[in-house]
């Protein structure tokens, strides 16, 4: 069961797609924990099962996914055995998500304000929602007037800020950020990461951060798990893993980030 220190414990989780010879073990016997107020980074190449692991936590996985065993312990309960209704109560209020593509992750036909308000409506009763929305936009350094804007009228960076505002609307305990900056310009990436780091400190938020980028790992994460083909191949304290990677795969991944090792990283990326 969840120990006092950990907010989330994933134990021996397996998620498969397809049947027979076409079975894809997207997540294969994976275990990791996220401590209170800590940031865990999940890294790995494309298709290694990071997103599926993250979505499994609140059963947001695609319909084709099959849970083949394991547990996801959060707040003393196994999320995988909760009913749809109970899960809805947790999604957005205790566990929030930030997705990779801000441009398509908002509903194009509703305003940003409407979409943030929807989260508030669902989980927080008896507050002045207008005030709360402008407060949330303030938090992510956006002007109030953007509440009446439609997604297509905003830039990717602005939208990702809105996404953060929406995720934090109901003061969740755990934030799952699935490659929150991959789709953004390099200059904007920095701002968003700084914002995330700042806010998670401010409200003592636990974060599960999914990324390709070891730069982000070293800046934000306390712990790191390295995934390959659905399995965790290496884990540990961030400094420890970065300074002395044990697994060849981790070394390859690190070598593939030119920012950290410009001398080695000039060649063709082994990823993808």
């Amino acid at each position: 069961m969840t120990t006092a220190d950990n907010i989330l414990e994933v134990q021996n989780l397996s998620v498969h797609f397809g049947h027979g010879d076409e079975t894809v073990k997207a997540v294969d016997d994976v275990s990791f924990v996220v401590g209170h107020g800590e940031t865990l980074a999940l890294v790995g190449e494309s298709g290694s099962g990071k997103s599926i692991s993250a979505l499994s936590i609140t059963k947001l996985t695609p319909r084709a996914a099959r849970f083949e065993g394991g547990q996801v312990m959060f707040g003393g309960q196994n999320m995988l055995s909760l009913s749809d209704r109970e899960l809805r109560g947790i999604r957005g209020s205790q566990i929030s998500y930030i997705f990779q593509e801000p441009m398509v992750s908002f509903n194009p036909v509703y305003t940003i304000g409407w979409q943030i308000e929807e989260a508030l409506k669902l989980h927080r009763k008896g507050i002045d929602r207008k005030v709360e929305i402008s407060h949330l936009l303030d938090l992510v350094y956006l002007p109030d007037r953007l509440a009446t804007a439609y997604p297509h009228q905003m830039s990717g960076g602005q939208l990702q800020r809105c996404m953060i505002a929406m995720a934090l609307a109901c003061s969740p305990e755990l934030l799952v950020a699935d490659e929150p900056t991959t789709a953004l310009d390099v200059t904007v990436q920095r701002e968003i990461l700084n914002l995330l780091a700042e806010l998670s400190k401010k409200v003592n938020l636990s974060v599960l951060m999914i990324t390709h980028n070891f730069g982000i790992v070293s800046d934000l994460a306390d712990h790191v798990c390295v995934m390959k083909k659905g399995k965790i191949v290496e884990e540990g304290q961030t400094r420890q893993v970065l300074d002395d990677p044990q697994h060849d795969y981790t070394k390859q991944l690190m070598a593939a980030v030119p920012r950290l090792h410009p001398a080695k990283g000039g060649g063709v990326s082994p990823m993808k």
């Binding site: 609140t58 947001l60 319909r63 749809d84 809805r88 109560g89 947790i90 999604r91 957005g92 209020s93 929030s96 998500y97 997705f99 593509e101 398509v104 992750s105 908002f106 509903n107 194009p108 036909v109 509703y110 929807e118 989260a119 669902l122 989980h123 439609y150 297509h152 009228q153 996404m163 929406m166």
Partner: protein, 424 residues
């Protein structure tokens, strides 16, 4: 917004021109001899000529200074003697591919009295001597000459002591204004709002259309609305239960519905429900009760393809990222479906719905004739069966123009429903 609408109207114009051109090409160019299609081949040449005259069909197609006349059909004697066989003073020889007029003969190949106000022109390849339309012809060798004469003059041949051999002979009416073509006539007629006259019913087409529109609408509007509501609801059921037994069943069901021929719905519905079980009147257009069965058949026959279309639209939306975001916020499935997905799906749905509007006007061709509803569909089928050119052309043209207009309406609806469009 106004600017956007104006721009769209401007973009619509080429299609309108295209539609007018296409109906023109279909009926006037491809159609060839409309008089023969409309009246059969047995009527006199003169009544065909007046049919042509009335519809401007005796003019050049697009542009020209000469037009054919039915008074004399072009003749090339290398292909046979044709109508000349019946004239005893003309001797046909296949060898020289020509006819020879005997000496001292006089006759006119012109079939009926020409319009006295027009000028005409013979083009003749001949040898020998004689007169044509009062002009002397004389040449030892083969020679081609053009002879112009007025409609009131006698346009016939006469010979004195010599023979006249003819190889080719053409009669043309001289057109005073070369732009006075069938196309111009057609466009002018449309500008006046004149859609022509029905040959079989002897009434102006516009009156027939005005009479038929209400019965048609009383049939198609209920079909349309009930159809849209039922198929959207069923497609939502599919989306809600996607990949379950219910969804799969509905998909199979709609393919089966689609595969049943329209005729079968009508015949079976009329026979089983109306005739055998007496649940509905079999035929007629007297009260709302008479419409119930045709409406039912209309709805059911369209259901299959509509469900499939709307389901695809809904499912396409269900796989978009914003749906996952909504679920991640803790939104319930019905709310995701009805509040998030449906509003996005409205955009393709509107297109599909508005585009169907022109078909409301054409009515339902077969339903109307089977159930005796005196609408435009009934009119259309009868017009096709009796080759009533003007009626068919008017129905096709107006149907097409309505389609173009509904396209415009769709775009305006788009702009209202989708915040992204306004900026463009």
């Amino acid at each position: 917004m106004l600017k956007y609408i104006l721009k769209r109207i401007l973009q619509m114009l080429p299609t309108v021109v295209g539609v007018i051109l296409l109906t023109f090409v279909l009926f006037n160019v491809v159609g060839g001899d409309l008089a023969a299609i409309a009246m059969g081949k047995k009527v006199s040449l003169q009544s065909m000529e007046s049919f042509d005259e009335q519809r401007g069909l005796n003019k050049p197609l697009f542009f020209g200074t000469r037009a054919k006349s039915r008074a004399y059909e072009d003749q090339d004697f290398s292909e046979g003697a044709g109508r000349w066989r019946t004239w005893s003073n003309a001797v046909y020889s296949a060898e020289s591919a020509a006819v020879m007029l005997q000496p001292k003969s006089a006759f006119s190949p012109i079939a009926f009295k020409l319009n006295p106000d027009n000028d005409f022109e013979w083009t003749i390849s001949f040898r020998g001597a004689g007169t044509l339309a009062g002009r002397e012809l004389a040449s030892k060798d083969w020679k081609t000459e053009k002879i112009r004469f007025q409609g009131m003059e006698d346009g016939g041949f006469s010979t004195e002591k010599d023979t006249l051999e003819i190889r080719r002979l053409k009669l043309r009416r001289v057109v005073k204004n070369p732009f006075d073509s069938q196309l111009l006539y057609y466009v002018k007629q449309l500008m006046r709002g004149d859609l022509g006259t029905s040959e079989s019913l002897h009434q102006p087409v516009s009156k027939l259309l005005a009479d038929g529109i209400l019965p048609s609408l009383s049939l198609t509007i209920p079909i349309f609305f009930i159809g849209v509501v039922v198929s959207i609801s069923l497609s939502l059921v599919c989306a809600f239960f996607r990949d379950t037994f219910i969804d799969r069943f509905l998909v199979m069901f709609s393919v089966a519905l689609m595969s049943i021929n329209y005729l079968v719905y009508i015949v079976a519905g009329q026979y089983i429900l109306a005739y055998k079980h007496g649940m509905f009147p079999v035929w007629g257009y007297e009260s709302a009760r008479y419409l119930a069965l045709p409406v039912l058949i209309g709805v059911v026959s369209g259901l299959g393809s509509n469900i499939r279309f709307y389901r695809t639209v809904m499912l396409d939306e269900m796989y978009k990222d914003y749906v996952r975001t909504a679920f991640a916020k803790g939104v319930s499935k019905p709310r995701v479906l009805f509040v998030h997905v449906l509003k996005n799906a409205m955009i393709p749905i509107i297109t599909n719905v508005v585009i169907a509007i022109p078909f409301l006007y054409t009515g339902s061709l077969l339903l109307e004739s089977f159930f005796g509803i005196p609408g435009l569909g009934y009119l259309g089928i009868n017009a096709i069966l009796s080759s009533d050119i003007d009626v068919v052309r008017a129905l096709v043209l107006i149907g097409a123009l309505l389609f173009v207009v509904s396209n415009l309406l769709t775009d305006i609806c788009y702009a209202v429903a989708d915040p992204r469009v306004k900026l463009k």
